[in-house]
């Protein structure tokens, strides 16, 4: 019996990109359904009634939401190739720690940067501090996952397509402060088709951000 896999998606969402990368890495066939977050579909509201957010993975009719939870689910169910998490419990705990760190920091701080309100300068500093912390954690490894990408790479790399928007709205350079991290992002895109296919072009994201800012009355 064939699996039915559907992804409720919103193309600029870094969280949805994570799931697309994971599905790509595992070679899973799926249907991608674009959501309009200003006009959410009945399906989305039915599949994620509590948060009403994307991404939602629907596997044989059963919904799973929250991107890191989806990644762990995918890793457990399709465990035949490209493991996202290490098998050793200690290594796993370290990977989950960093994935959690990324979750707690990057989206909300990044948002304050591109929104460009009074706290933008503070947000820029916080963002650079976080990215530097992550860069230190990467160290001399090719990827956070070691020789291959793992859950931390998958959790972080989608945000790199938002870097151009952060930089332009905030008038600063992320590469200047975190050259190794920017190099890591390039490496992920060059060596992993699942990454290059899941990430929209930074200019597309910037266009989206500017539209959003207009909509929010920020420009």
């Amino acid at each position: 019996m064939e699996d039915e896999v559907v992804l409720l998606d919103f193309w600029p969402s870094s969280f949805a990109m994570r799931v697309k990368i994971a599905l790509g890495e595992k070679g899973i066939k799926y249907k991608c359904k674009q959501e309009d977050l200003f006009n959410k579909s009945t399906l989305l509201l039915e599949m994620n009634p509590i948060h009403k957010k994307i991404p939602v993975l629907i596997h044989n009719g059963k919904p799973i939401s929250e991107s890191l939870i989806i990644l762990q689910y995918i890793d457990q169910v399709w465990n035949h190739k490209s493991p996202l998490l290490p098998s050793d419990p200690y290594q796993r705990s370290q990977a989950l720690f960093w994935a959690d760190y990324i979750d707690k920091k990057i989206y909300s701080i990044g948002r304050r940067v591109w929104m460009g309100k009074e706290d933008q300068e503070e947000a820029k500093e916080e963002l650079m501090q976080c990215l530097k912390t992550l860069e230190r954690e990467l160290g001399d490894k090719l990827y956070f996952g070691g020789q291959n990408i793992g859950v931390v790479d998958v959790a972080l790399v989608p945000f790199t397509t938002w870097f151009y928007s952060y930089e332009t709205c905030g008038n600063f350079s992320i590469e200047a402060g975190c050259p190794k991290l920017v190099a890591w992002a390039k490496r992920c895109k060059e060596n992993y088709r699942s990454v290059s296919e899941a990430l929209p072009h930074p200019l597309q994201i910037y266009e989206y951000v500017m539209e959003l800012k207009k909509r929010l009355g920020l420009v």
Partner: protein, 225 residues
């Protein structure tokens, strides 16, 4: 082989408590080190958790694991008997969903409601009640979130069940009441009555004055600002 397990915690911290309960459920012996988190954090704590500098920190054979939810997953994977997460991937994902919901929405909002100033209280309280209603639906007629026995969702929900009730008593507001949330209220009674939970919860007569003191100081600091 001797296992060395240490837990850096704080007796009144609901996050610290989660890690303790998990170790006790697994029957793992550990050394408990109470950190003076409001005074002077030890060098060891800062060494083992340089990023967040918080408790709890689990030290297993010298290797640190931090963040209470990460610690709970680690304990589950390392000591495989008495599992507190389901095996089935979908059920596991569902448990993790509720854990995240409690950790990111339920508990913080309830905590805010208990501490908030009079003029903000109604709005925050309404939000908190919505979350409690949603959380109650996860019980779905079961005794515990984990079914017949305590699972990881129950461990995390301890922050709602026990700690919030203490804070509410101090503030004189009643959020988690038997008439508004009968199932959830019953769950919190059943949970607190489990022998393993009873042994390890911080004593109410110690916690009450402690939280009172925290709130008084907070209100004092805010009055000055």
């Amino acid at each position: 082989m001797g296992e060395e397990v240490k837990l850096f915690g704080y007796w009144a911290s609901p996050y610290s408590y989660r890690a303790e309960l998990a170790l006790k459920l697994k029957g793992v012996s550990y050394e408990y080190i109470n950190e003076d988190i409001f005074g002077n954090k030890s060098d060891l704590l800062l060494k083992y958790n340089p990023v967040h500098k918080k408790v709890p920190v689990l030290l297993h054979n010298g290797k640190p694991i931090v963040e209470s939810l990460v610690i709970l997953e680690y304990i589950e994977e390392t000591w495989k008997h008495n599992p507190y997460l389901p095996q089935d991937p979908y059920d596991k994902a569902t448990a993790r969903f509720w854990i995240k919901f409690i950790d990111e929405k339920c508990f913080p909002t309830l905590w805010l409601a208990a501490w908030s100033a009079e003029n903000e209280r109604e709005k925050v309280t309404n939000e908190a009640c919505e979350y409690l209603k949603t959380l109650e639906s996860a019980l779905n007629g079961k005794k515990f979130f984990g079914g017949e026995t305590i699972g990881m969702v129950d461990i995390v929900a301890s922050s709602v069940g026990y700690f919030i009730r203490v804070t509410q008593e101090i503030m004189g507001i009643n959020l988690l009441s038997a008439d508004k949330f009968p199932q959830l209220f019953q769950w919190s009674e059943d949970f607190a009555n489990c022998s393993i939970v009873k042994e390890s919860l911080p004593p109410r007569d110690k916690l009450l004055p402690f939280v009172k003191g925290l709130i008084a100081k907070y209100q004092q600091d805010n009055a000055k600002a």
